[in-house]
């Protein structure tokens, strides 16, 4: 079995400190950037420092690999699954950071505080990924959400931004209330706040009604954050109104963190065994896949298309989530990996194409892009194909993993709905690609790029993402091998208490 070192002392030991290093780096980074802003450093410098700090956070994560799994107090369980998710989230923060310079340099708002908030949001999502306790779960969620309120409405002079910010604020606060009430009910029934404690109390007995109610309310709260149907109403407007890099962050890191904590919680209390809960989740999954894909069909705004597509993708993810069992963390992490990569490639292209006045969000904007900027158009095409789940791209391997998980446990209905709804999905992904091929090359050369260095960095990032998309599609064995080794632990094995 895995050895879990457990310290029941109230003081943090050196090891605890080391294990939490990635989170601490992120927290410290936000303070450091704040100080740099006070010192009136330029946007360029702050951007580069943030980049460096993200890299440091990532390295510190690599550093703790040897000591996994590791439990910090009763709040955090840093296992390989959690570490993988933290990696994904930090990577998302990094990618968002890279794309942010060009985007915000041209905008009217001072861009510097943006980086502070970005670090905080990343921290919140990371905390979620390793939280093993209601307190850390809620704290992580609130750090993430409060940061996002400000980020979404960052361009505060713009109508859509304000609308999106308010919408997110109201609904997120609303859903937090649901979550809290659900937690309270669960606490009432079990008398424990830590996942392990709850698991001990519930044991193998059937799920009592009060607990079920609590779980249902929690599901509503988490469902809002994940934007699954029927809790998806805010998605399209927020995606459209938020600055493009922030949209990318909402689509990926914030959802990834919530999925990870939800998975950990479900695994702990073995929520998969409750039939009522399963039925509810199946309904949610099917509704998300169908509604998300159908609503995306009629959109002409690419940010809204991606918003509805993300609803559908969360539905696909639930297909891997619902069956329960050892395969679930693997399938979920692999799917998130492919989905993150494709989403960042898509949003990266949108960011680079966006101008000072408005985002490149209308599909018309992409006409003939393939003949004007073949590199960007190819990258966006690959991203679209990957999101559509077409072979040779990561999306296909991800969907394959999800389907095998679903079918392997006999969830044929979910698998069939996944397949049929992704056929519907093809239409709008293809429409984006078709638009880029329509029209002809206009002979006028565009204006020269304004920030060659940062454009270069962004392009390198995009190429890396595209390469990863194709690599994961053509030769996924390596990544599958990594994902297969992931362990999701909730309770420390009994033997380790003796240590």
């Amino acid at each position: 079995m895995f050895k879990v070192r457990l310290y029941n002392t109230s003081l943090m030991s050196n090891n605890d400190f080391n294990a939490l290093m990635p989170l601490l780096v992120l927290a410290g980074a936000s303070v450091l950037v704040m100080l740099l802003i006070v010192a009136r450093l330029s946007h360029r410098l702050i951007q580069l420092v943030s980049l460096l700090l993200f890299v440091i956070a990532f390295i510190s994560l690599l550093n703790i690999r040897a000591m996994l799994p590791y439990q910090v107090g009763s709040l955090f369980m840093i296992d390989s699954f959690g570490a993988f998710m933290i990696g994904l989230i930090i990577f998302s923060g990094l990618a968002v950071n890279v794309f942010s310079y060009i985007y915000f340099q041209e905008k009217e708002e001072g861009p510097k505080e943006y980086y502070v908030l970005l670090f905080l949001c990343t921290l919140g999502a990371c905390v979620l990924a390793v939280s093993n306790h209601f307190v850390s779960l809620f704290l992580g969620l609130e750090i993430l959400t409060i940061g996002l309120y400000a980020l979404i409405a960052y361009l505060r002079a713009r109508n859509h931004s304000i609308e999106a910010g308010i919408k997110y604020l109201v609904l997120a606060a609303f859903s937090s209330a649901f979550l809290l009430f659900g937690m309270a009910l669960v606490y009432l029934q079990t008398g424990a706040l830590s996942f392990a404690g709850m698991a001990n109390v519930i044991g193998a007995a059937s799920v009592p009604p009060l607990l079920l109610t609590g779980l249902g309310l929690m599901l509503v709260g988490l469902g809002f954050k994940l934007a699954v149907v029927p809790f998806h109403m805010w998605t399209a407007d927020v995606y459209q109104g938020a600055p493009v890099p922030v949209t990318a962050f909402i689509a990926t890191a914030s959802k990834g963190g919530v999925v990870a904590s939800m998975l950990r919680f479900f695994a702990a209390i073995d929520g998969f065994r409750s039939e009522q809960l399963q039925v509810v989740m199946i309904v949610i999954a099917i509704a998300s896949m169908v509604v998300g894909n159908l609503l995306a069909l009629r959109q002409s705004n690419i940010k809204r298309v991606l918003a509805y597509s993300s609803i559908a993708h969360l539905g696909y993810l639930l297909v891997a989530f619902i069956p329960g069992g050892d395969v679930v963390p693997q399938a979920v992490s692999f799917y998130l990996l492919t989905y993150f990569t494709a989403t960042f490639a898509a949003f990266g292209v949108i960011t680079i194409l966006s101008g000072a006045e408005s985002d490149a969000e209308e599909l018309v904007h992409y006409r003939a892009l393939f003949w004007k900027q073949p590199a960007l158009a190819s990258i966006l095409s690959v991203a679209m194909f990957s999101l559509a789940g077409i072979p040779l791209t990561a999306g296909f391997t991800g969907k394959f993993y999800v389907l095998t998980t679903g079918i392997g446990q006999g969830f044929w209905l979910l698998a069939s709905v996944l397949v049929l709804s992704s056929v519907v999905g093809l239409y709008y992904y293809l429409r984006v690609v078709t638009t880029m091929f329509a029209g002809t090359r206009d002979l006028l050369p565009g204006p020269p790029p304004k920030y060659p260095v940062f454009l270069g960095i962004s392009m390198v990032a995009l190429f890396v993402l595209t390469f990863a998309l194709i690599w994961l599609g053509v030769y996924p064995d390596h990544a599958i091998g990594v994902v297969r080794d992931l362990q999701l632990l909730v309770t420390a094995p009994a033997t380790s208490f003796a240590e």
Binding site: I390, L403, Y427, T434, F437, A438, D477
Partner: protein
């Protein structure tokens, strides 16, 4: 290794073409031509080496085999193998590939690099489909050919191209995904039975499947192949796609993509679900006959030349599905023959339609007429292929349809009677093609040049092949025989086993 080379030469050529397209408009077509010719020579070399006259004669059905682990965690391997059936279709692939490049030589003037990239990529996908012996890999190649075809129709097609491209893509992708579900189902049934989770064709063919599951899995496979072939109610994408595609696109669609459907049935459906296939035989044959007659009637009523030829494909492919489900050696030999000859004859008709369109800028047969006068060469060649299409003895199609009808007669005489009526219908529409286009009064007084040297070369190659197949079909039959006899033997063994165990169905 040779088999991998066949695919890599096309893929490398494709990438080289798109890179070269940045600098020059003319280099990509040469690259494409060279890639296809190299591939064709490789196939001929394999054929020569493995035929009785050549050096090594393999003992069993399989001539060459290449296997390398790909995604071992799911039991997926990069497994290619060819038998006679695959080899024939591969030869067809590269032969039509060369012709497709040649016929696009002057037709495509814009974005040539990307055009030849797509063309070669489709060919790579098709070649992969004919060789893949791992179901995951098979599905992979199955999908690889779709996207470039979508681009080919959507970018270089005629007026209504976007609609046609969508329709083609969504039909084939949707049915392909259902097949993928069936593949996964088979994978898990086999895995749960034996404990070995693998996508390997040779291991999966032996799976014992409960009848009900077998029926559903077979339906999953069949729907993908039936859409591609196309079988009667699933054919609606075909006239649009063929009509709007550029000439080379129509050629490849009719000559190769439709064949992948028939190949899939022969290679996967029949050996994997022998019981279910037997049960479904009569309905499938009836659908085939309906397709034969419906396609012919629709072809007669078309005014658009390319749509007309597209509907003749529906009719000819009706013979294919009828022949496959007759499940005896004669009919299956006829099916293989039909696959090859239909590719040649229909391909030639599409090429001709393309050439006429280049000259007259229309596909409407109402605006043609009397073209024999200015273009006697095209007229006579057109006559040859119209005759081939109606099944005139001496040309390849006759052999194919005759064998199919003979084979089907052994199984179900009445179905044969209905299917044979298709021959009369085909005579009606074929003669209408010749009459409307080449004979009668001239409609336009534009000067239309006859064949250029390049066009003559293309048509000569096709004419020689179709006459050769009509007079000496034996080499094709010999090449396909081991695969066919194996298939028939397998079905017999299955039914013999069934007679001893009458309760297997439950």
């Amino acid at each position: 290794m040779m088999l991998v080379l066949l695919i890599t030469v096309l893929m490398v050529g494709a990438v080289a073409a798109v890179v070269a397209g940045e600098w020059s408009r003319h280099v990509p077509r040469w690259i494409a031509l060279v890639a296809c010719v190299i591939g064709l020579m490789c196939v001929i070399a394999i054929w020569a080496n493995t035929s009785p006259a050549g050096g090594s004669v393999p003992s069993g059905q399989w001539l060459l085999d290449y296997r390398k682990s790909w995604i071992p965690s799911f039991g997926i391997s990069f497994h290619l193998a060819v038998d006679g059936l695959s080899l024939l279709l591969l030869a067809l692939t590269f032969f039509l590939g060369v012709l497709a490049v040649l016929c696009s030589w002057d037709e495509i003037r814009e974005r040539t690099g990307f055009y030849y990239f797509n063309l070669l990529w489709i060919l790579a996908g098709v070649a992969g489909v004919f060789m893949a012996m791992d179901l995951f890999l098979f599905y992979f190649f199955w999908e690889v050919m779709l996207i470039p075809m979508y681009f080919l129709i959507g970018i270089w097609g005629s007026e209504n191209r976007v609609y046609a491209a969508y329709k083609f893509f969504i039909f084939t992708q949707a049915s392909g995904l259902l097949m993928f579900l069936a593949i996964l189902g088979l994978y898990f049934i086999h895995g749960q039975d034996t404990g070995i989770y693998t996508f390997n064709y040779f291991e999966l063919t032996g799976t014992v499947i409960p009848f009900k599951s077998a029926f559903w899995l077979m339906s999953g496979f069949m729907i993908a192949f039936a859409v591609k072939l196309p079988v009667f109610p699933f054919h609606t994408w075909l006239p649009d796609a063929h009509g709007e595609a550029p000439t080379a696109g129509s050629l490849i669609l009719a000559g190769l993509l439709l064949k992948t459907g028939a190949y899939g049935m022969l290679r996967f459906v029949v050996p994997m679900f022998p019981e279910a296939v037997r049960e479904a035989a009569v309905p499938a044959m009836v659908l085939g006959v309906v397709g034969i007659i419906y396609g012919a009637v629709m072809a007669y009523s078309q005014t658009d030349l390319k749509r007309l030829v597209a509907f003749t494909s529906v009719s000819h492919m009706g013979f294919v599905i009828t022949g496959i489900f007759a499940l005896n050696e004669l009919a299956l030999q006829g099916v293989v023959m039909q696959l090859v000859t239909h590719a040649l004859s229909t391909g030639a008709l599409f090429l001709m339609a393309g050439m006429i369109k280049e000259r007259l800028h229309t596909r409407d047969i109402g605006e043609m007429g009397g073209l024999w006068g200015p273009m006697p060469q095209m007229g006579s060649i057109g006559l040859v292929f119209a005759m081939a299409s109606l099944g005139l003895p001496g040309l390849g199609n006759f052999i194919a349809e005759f064998l199919i009808l003979l084979g089907v007669f052994q199984a179900h005489p009445w179905i044969t009677v209905a299917a044979a009526s298709g021959l009369i219908f085909s005579a009606v529409y074929s003669l209408r093609i010749v009459g409307k286009i080449f004979l009668g009064p001239r409609k336009t007084m534009e000067t239309v040049p006859d064949f250029s040297f390049r066009e003559m070369l293309i048509m000569a190659a096709l004419t020689v092949s179709i006459v050769w197949l009509g007079l000496f079909p034996q080499p094709v039959i010999d090449t396909a025989r081991p695969a066919i006899t194996e298939l028939v033997r397998f079905m017999d063994v299955q039914s013999a086993a069934l007679q001893h165990q009458p309760y297997v169905k439950q």
